[in-house]
Symmetry: C2
Subunit: 318 residues, 2 copies
């Protein structure tokens, strides 16, 4: 089959890859649409050593699923952590932190930028008919946005600031807007400001960020500068959610966190079921985030394109 | 009157200080017993520029309180933040984060290492008869320990690790032991291990700290090494409470906080009322923490003594 192969930080399109064979409890899935995420770009840059097919955002169709024949032909999305079920984290219900986990297209499990992929059937979620492929491909990213609300009780009276208006920031903003809180998104460019405005969400320029202006700040730039801006904006006894990974260490004044009693909350993958419910109910509109589409065989070009600043979602089709 | 005066990082005993005069709404308090805290030692080292009488842990007797004559002769302790009542933080009920706050013996308000001090009557708490001066002088420190439970919901099934067994660490350990959680305290010396054992609390050596061994870790060393040990010990999706101030910045891998979804919670002053209730009920025993007592005129010597590693609570009497 065809796929985008990453090895020693070299990405290549290959058409000589072996078709994956589903084991009992797994499904073989034909990719219908896949999304390029910042993590894909970071893996390409060597953020984590990974040698296999890239990609973890997808919507696909089940070809076969030994032991679950009812799934054949169904349109699905899938959570990306393949867990052992037996470690302390799994037994405590924190499956996304399984110490033996493999991760689709990220760690020890071939990814979705290919004709076919496999996942355990327990990872799959049926896509409702009213959710298009273009919407469904955002399920994983929207789930990550929703994880914030799993971790922090956000009240409607709160002043909430989202720092960063990229792919994930846009979905975070839309999900937080549903709470009815006093929401603003910090942007650096006019394009995201216009897009946010069309979605009914307020934005402010970086220069308008003031000390202690927000009860809750979501940092989604992944840059030390974005972190510093976010730290400045959160008020004493407020909460700072970190939603992006950072390259390297960041120098931090821990005393100020103590004196101001700040809560810093790391946040990663989230729940698929509410993401699909919100997409089905048309409460979240990911479609304006689609910037371009490339066929799988132009995947390297697609990832090159997605690397440019300000580019939103780039999709791959078979 | 007499008092310990700090100016340009020089501490001196003086007997020529003017008696403070209480304004309407304030109480004049005669100090009965005062405690030396790490913050006093840090102020002396220049951690924050402060030029006045040092000291914020005290139990005293109200001499007079204009407008609240009923308080005269009463034994009291007092919360240390003198707040404006009108700023955003005060109006939102976060008084300890008042942006205009003065702090007893720390910022813009003369402290308790003196014959007399003043505080607003709203800051005062009557000390129950069953609570001795030796116990009451720990109220402020115990309140700081209890702040952890105001911020984090600690369940009895949790594995809790307290890193640091100094003055505050000992009270944090005692307060957390009351939850019935699986509690261990990390110690470096035999003396605190023996003291903890006498209080029925388990301790482990630094060398016994393992990766992800605790659901909740309380960092109370204030050192970068203590922070690194604490970060190592907290499990994915766990909570790390910072209870001490750190000198300088600490280099931190923020990505690991995101990937492991760690919550880092800064924690400072806490509630006096439950601290007094627990002291009155003899559920917390601070008395073994008293290491020595010095008369006020030997205060400089007392602070020199308190600086030595492993020294627990040093008290000053008039």
């Amino acid at each position: 089959m065809r796929g985008l192969w990453l090895e020693d930080q070299k990405l290549s399109f290959r058409d000589d890859l072996a078709n994956p064979v589903p084991k009992l409890g797994e499904a073989l899935i034909k990719m219908r649409l896949a999304g390029i995420c910042s993590t894909d770009l970071e893996l390409w840059c060597g953020y984590y050593p990974y040698h296999d097919i890239l990609g973890h955002e997808f919507v696909g169709e089940v070809v076969e699923a030994p032991g679950r024949e009812d799934l054949a032909g169904k349109r699905v999305v899938g959570s990306i952590s393949i867990t052992c079920g037996g470690c302390e984290a799994c037994l405590a219900g924190r499956k996304s932190h399984c110490i033996n986990r493999k991760t689709l297209g990220i760690r020890n499990h071939a990814g979705a930028f290919a004709d076919y992929l496999t996942l355990p059937t327990g990872n799959l979620y049926l896509v409702p008919d009213v959710v298009s492929d273009d919407e469904a491909v955002f399920t994983e990213l929207l789930a990550a946005a929703l994880e914030i609300q799993e971790q922090v009780h956000i009240q409607s009276g709160m002043r909430v600031l989202v720092v960063g208006a990229g792919r994930l920031g846009m979905l975070i903003a839309q999900s937080l807007a549903l709470i009815g809180c006093d929401l603003k998104v910090v942007v650096r460019r006019e394009a995201p400001a216009l897009l946010l405005s069309s979605l009914g969400i307020k934005s402010i320029d970086v220069s308008e960020v003031q000390n202690s202006m927000a009860d809750l700040v979501v940092e989604v730039t992944g840059s030390p500068q974005g972190f510093a801006l976010s730290r400045k904006a959160v008020r004493p006894k407020g909460t700072l959610v970190l939603k992006s990974t950072f390259a390297g260490d960041v120098s931090l004044n821990l005393s100020s966190l103590v004196v101001d009693e700040i809560s810093v909350i790391g946040s990663r993958c989230g729940p698929f079921a509410p993401a699909l419910r919100l997409l089905a109910a048309k409460k979240i509109n990911p479609l304006p985030l689609i910037e371009s589409r490339f066929p799988l065989e132009k995947g390297v070009e697609a990832l090159e394109h997605a690397r440019h600043p300000g580019i939103l979602k780039v999709l791959l089709f078979p």
